[in-house]
């Protein structure tokens, strides 16, 4: 025989849900912690690398620094040095130019007549060549 609506309702009420777990409230509200109290999930390899780096930096900072050579004291002094400055004077100098000698006058004083006169005829055609 099938149960009617009321029977069914009564039957259904027999299945109770378990009591509400208080852990939900803790889980939910603990996840709203302030940022300085919250955690940051990191992959293990990255966390190892960071830890090693931190250890190395700490070790290095603890180590005494290597000895350096004596420091050279550098002192700066001001020394006055006389500087000779050349003075450039620009002057116009007029130079005397040599006066050109006058042309010698042509005279026939030393002209002597030739003893023998030889006439050579030069052709006009050859003369051109």
């Amino acid at each position: 025989m099938e149960p009617n609506d009321n029977d069914l309702r009564d039957l259904l009420k027999e299945w109770d849900a378990p009591p509400f777990p208080s852990s939900i409230e803790k889980r939910l509200f603990s996840s709203r912690r302030s940022w300085w109290r919250s955690s940051l999930p990191l992959p293990i390899p990255l966390a190892c690398c960071l830890a090693l780096l931190l250890a190395f930096l700490t070790w290095r900072s603890v180590q005494p620094a290597p000895q350096q050579p004596a420091q050279v004291l550098i002192r700066t002094e001001r020394v006055e040095v006389p500087i000779i400055r050349e003075r450039v004077v620009t002057k116009i100098v007029y130079k005397r130019r040599p006066i050109p000698s006058p042309k010698p006058q042509l005279t026939f004083n030393e002209l002597k007549p030739v003893g023998e006169l030889r006439i050579k005829i030069v052709r006009h055609q050859n003369a051109q060549n």
């Binding site: 149960p3 609506d5 029977d7 069914l8 509400f20 939910l28």
Partner: protein, 171 residues
């Protein structure tokens, strides 16, 4: 959303959400996860809740429903979530306690029928409220409820010998 508002919402609605998620999933730890995710969702996107569109309870139950159905689809990739699988196979209830038998019967219902029945019978929600939670048509909700009750009557018939008397045990 402030911390006090969230606490307020938690105090008022967490129990309903837990019961609904527990009855839908059949697992306490899964129900805890669902409740937590619901409130975290509200915390992350408080603007997604619009009071004009319905009560906060319906909104949170809607989130829980989506989470449960998402998980259901992940676990049962090849099982359709439709109305066709409306007839449940008979259960072996011999030697099972009454409450366990009821739980078994409710959980054997198709998901859409199960959620309608849980909201109506256990959370005593009206049809309109169920429509708000499930985003389904009113007729569809009515039909799911009707088929869920039919299935349960059939599945749980061995527990009822006659009106008022219970088969196999004494009340």
């Amino acid at each position: 959303m402030t911390n006090s508002e969230l606490r307020d919402a938690f105090e008022h609605h967490s129990h309903v959400l837990f019961r609904y998620a527990y009855r839908m999933t059949g697992s306490g730890s899964a129900a805890e996860d669902v409740v937590q995710e619901c409130f975290l969702g509200l915390l992350r996107r408080p603007a997604s809740y619009d009071p004009a569109r319905g009560a906060l309870r319906a909104f949170l139950l809607g989130i829980a429903r989506n989470l449960i159905l998402m998980q259901w689809r992940k676990e049962r990739t090849y099982e359709p979530l439709d109305e066709d699988s409306s007839v449940c196979l008979p259960l072996d209830l011999i030697g099972v306690e009454r409450s366990q038998a009821v739980a078994k019967a409710v959980q054997s219902l198709p998901a859409l029928q199960r959620e309608a029945l849980i909201l109506a019978e256990y959370e005593e929600m009206s049809l309109v409220e169920i429509v708000q939670v499930t985003h389904a048509e009113l007729a569809a909700v009515k039909s799911r409820l009707h088929r869920a009750r039919q299935n349960l009557r059939r599945l749980l018939s061995p527990l009822v010998e006659s009106k008022g008397a219970v088969y196999g045990t004494e009340r």
